[in-house]
Symmetry: C2
Subunit: 179 residues, 2 copies
């Protein structure tokens, strides 16, 4: 996948790190290591509204991806708030999460990496969402490890069968064989 | 919005009625009256996997639309199951719910009506999802009443301010003025 750094500021790095922290918590819980943060960056300064992480495993959930869990944790918000927010996510959004950002007209998404998954960036840009892809080594390593050690859960999370991932079964780690 | 009836069978009517029942429960709970049902229609017959309803008000939720609540209620499912399912919904899906259907490759959606809202049908069709729009009077009446009596909640649910709905404030009912 292509890397598009876009314009990043120091605060972007800080908020992406909140998302990475969530991803690591999710991994340690046995889940999919994808995290997110929703930050209101309005004229009066920045405010972190919520963080969240993929909780498919933890909650037995089909809809709690990193981004949607984060928005759920933020609770009900007026349209005007979302329109001044930036969504930080460790991995390029799936169509569900992209559709959620478009629904709420979140104008900008900072994406940790898109090497391991990319399904919605063209659609997001076509809907006026500004994207910045960081190509962050920590985000890449989290997903590399996920696909090595828990490929079945990752496949389930993106709506495919593990056989469709192109993963060599002999390379699967302990977590995968226990499924 | 255009009406495209598509091919409907007797079972479609029965399953759409489950979604309508959910929408009515949601209305009675003080919420947004949109309901859904997920039905596995495989070679061995039909099985209703879950029903759900918009629970923005009931759960203080930003992501529990009718369709996503339904999929959440269905729990974690293998990709192969979604690919033999039909999703029934009383109202044309927003981008979040459409993105969820595309993520899980749900091949067919039966839509109660799209007169009161339509945001994703072209995108769904472009992704190979078969749509059947019923233009059902009961679904239309549920949303007409919602927009008359609870327009602020409806606006919030689709990520706009009430002023952007084009609703005449003098026509607002008791629920709206109490917000």
């Amino acid at each position: 996948m292509s890397s598009t750094h876009g314009q990043l500021d120091d605060a972007d790095r800080e908020y992406l790190d909140l998302a990475i922290e969530q991803a690591r918590i999710g991994w340690d819980e046995g889940g999919v290591p994808i995290g997110a943060a929703l930050v209101h960056r309005g004229p009066d300064g920045d405010r972190v509204l919520a963080v969240g992480r993929n909780r498919r495993v933890q909650l037995g959930s089909a809809i709690r991806h990193g981004e949607t869990d984060c928005l759920e944790n933020a609770g009900r918000l007026p349209a005007s708030v979302y329109r001044e927010c930036v969504l930080y996510t460790t991995l390029s959004p799936c169509t569900m999460c992209a559709g959620t950002a478009i629904l709420y007209e979140i104008p900008r998404i900072v994406i940790g990496e898109n090497r391991n998954f990319e399904a919605s960036e063209e659609w997001l840009r076509g809907n006026g969402v500004e994207l910045a892809v960081v190509d962050d080594p920590a985000c890449i390593e989290l997903m590399d490890r996920m696909m090595r050690e828990r490929p079945e859960i990752w496949a389930e999370d993106i709506g495919v069968d593990a056989s469709e991932l192109g993963v060599d079964a002999s390379e699967l780690g302990a977590d995968a064989s226990a499924l």
